[in-house]
């Protein structure tokens, strides 16, 4: 009752301003959450191959302005711009090698036209006699991977379609000769991808004769693992030098158990603790 008795509360201009601001912040929070959710989902589409010279994916998504000048410059219509419904980060360039691979133009028309530097000219240039020249062989669009089970070369059939399609024949794809145990007198000509040289152009994937390509290009993050710094090749004097930089005083931070092993190893109490 006291509320009704007392004077009507004064709605000042300041109060009105603050509550309108608060209302807008509240709406923005909800909208922002939905919006962020969409962006994070869209960003995490990992199976996407970028044009030559593309920065690592996180930086690429930051820098690409989605103008499509790379796609326009591509003479083979390799590069596509992700459309709504493609389930790729919208408006960014990518390619599907089985449809149209990258034909590795030596003048790389798609890279210098990039206005933002999302396609980095430096990463596909090398210095020849003091002069900077474009070098498509340095590009790292992805890495070709062979599925041994669907590759007919592993059956003993001579195919080498991918090997011959590779623009870096004998560097990016080599043929390994192995004895064909089934016949006992023939050789298997096994395609093997050398990750250092492979550019991920996808000409091998395009050339593969199987119904669904047995050799296919994957983005590096998916195709490759990572050993981690704590493994050192003891047989390699150079690699072992890394030990010299390691600080010697290694301390154990977890508290050691004060029990004697016999006390707990024979009981199952610890197993069912808590």
């Amino acid at each position: 009752m006291s509320n009704l008795d007392s004077k009507k509360p004064v709605i000042t201009k300041r109060r009105r301003f603050l509550s309108v601001m608060a209302q807008s912040v509240g709406l923005s929070a909800l909208g922002g959450m939905v919006w962020t959710g969409y962006i994070e989902e869209a960003k995490s589409a990992p199976l996407i191959l970028r044009p030559p010279g593309a920065k690592p994916e996180t930086d690429f998504l930051r820098m690409c302005i989605k103008c499509g000048q790379c796609a326009e410059a591509c003479p083979f219509d390799t590069l596509l711009m992700a459309k709504p419904g493609d389930n790729k980060p919208m408006g960014t360039p990518y390619f599907i090698p089985r449809d149209v691979p990258c034909y590795m133009c030596t003048d790389i028309p798609c890279v210098p036209v990039c206005p933002t530097g999302a396609l980095d000219e430096e990463s596909v240039s090398s210095v020849v006699e003091g002069e900077k020249v474009l070098d498509i062989n340095k590009s790292k669009m992805g890495l070709a991977v062979v599925d041994e089970e669907s590759c007919i070369a592993f059956w003993g059939i001579q195919c080498d379609a991918c090997y011959r399609a590779c623009p870096l024949m004998d560097k990016a794809i080599v043929l390994e000769y192995k004895r064909n145990k089934r016949t006992g007198k023939h050789a298997l000509l096994i395609p093997k991808v050398m990750s250092e040289a492979c550019t991920g152009c996808g000409l091998c994937e395009r050339a593969c004769v199987t119904q669904k390509a047995a050799i296919f290009v994957l983005p590096h993050e998916i195709a490759q693992g990572k050993i981690g710094g704590h493994y050192i090749k003891g047989w390699d004097p150079d690699d072992e030098k890394r030990l010299n930089d390691v600080s010697v005083d290694v301390t154990t931070r977890t508290k050691r158990s004060e029990l004697v092993p016999q006390d707990y190893l024979n009981s199952d109490e610890v197993l069912f603790d808590e």
């Binding site: 998504l61 930051r62 820098m63 989605k66 499509g68 459309k83 709504p84």
Partner: protein, 272 residues
């Protein structure tokens, strides 16, 4: 006939400009006619002059990108043009979405929807919050946040490279503008329009009002996509000072009394 031309002179010029720009982009990709390559996000004019979307660049900065010189120069050229001369002309002379929302708006008038529908609350200030939100979210997600969902980009990229499901976005804007909120997208939500409204507040080209000629027929307010900016009509002469004016010139065309015209902003005497 000449009356018709006079009545729709700016509208026709705008359509020529909007369609012409899209045709240039399209033919650069489709036929290699390289006058204007790229899309509205970033393009190259005559193979030399870079032009970029300054709002996209602002978001990319917020996302933490270190950008190349071309895109920065391009954004600066575009920004300087609108800030000093054009005002918010991007929205009504360049942006392809404008044709969609204009169509919705025209249908609204034909179907008398304004008179019958239930009012939905949506402030015209929403767009400024969307600007703030896109900059904040760009920083959080490391991606230009509005660019990745922008129906404007979906449409102009769609025209050049193929629409895909982009038509759904365009259709939903059309339906939203037609049935939900009058000028809902361009006049309330679109942060790019909001960005140009703020940026080009002091541009030179302005719509001017000559009050003694005005007969208070209110045709200009009927047709204006941002009619809050015309609140002074019939009360005093002067410039339309709000940056929210898109310089579309529709008010000038529909005025039968010669009370509105394009002119140079009077920076000194505010009642010019």
């Amino acid at each position: 006939m000449s009356n018709f031309l006079k009545k729709y002179r700016f509208l026709m010029l705008r359509r020529v400009s909007q369609i012409g720009i899209m045709a240039l982009y399209f033919s650069a990709n489709a036929y290699g006619f390289n006058v204007l390559t790229g899309t509205l996000s970033s393009s190259l004019l005559f193979g030399t002059i870079p032009l970029s979307d300054p709002f996209a660049v602002a978001q990319m900065f917020s996302a933490g990108a270190l950008l190349g010189a071309d895109v920065l120069v391009g954004a600066l050229i575009v920004l300087l043009f609108y800030v000093s001369i054009g005002g918010r002309a991007f929205c009504s002379w360049v942006c392809p979405i404008n044709m969609i929302t204009d169509l919705a708006n025209w249908l609204r008038r034909v179907l008398l929807l304004d008179k019958t529908e239930k009012r939905v609350w949506l402030g015209r200030g929403v767009r400024y919050w969307v600007i703030i939100l896109s900059l904040i979210l760009s920083a959080f997600t490391s991606v230009a946040a509005f660019e990745i969902i922008s129906p404007i980009s979906m449409l102009h990229r769609g025209i050049v490279f193929g629409m895909g499901m982009g038509f759904a976005a365009v259709l939903s804007i059309f339906l939203f503008d037609l049935f939900a909120v009058k000028n809902g997208w361009c006049g309330h939500i679109c942060p790019l329009g909001g960005f140009y409204s703020v940026a080009s507040k002091l541009s030179i080209i302005r719509v001017k009002h000559n009050q003694p000629n005005c007969t208070l027929c209110m045709k200009c307010k009927d047709v204006c996509p941002e009619k809050q900016i015309l609140s002074f009509i019939g009360k005093e002469s002067g410039d339309v000072r709000s940056g929210e004016c898109t310089n579309c010139g529709r008010c000038i065309e529909v005025c039968d009394d010669d009370a509105l015209h394009f002119g140079i902003r009077n920076y000194i005497n505010k009642n010019g």
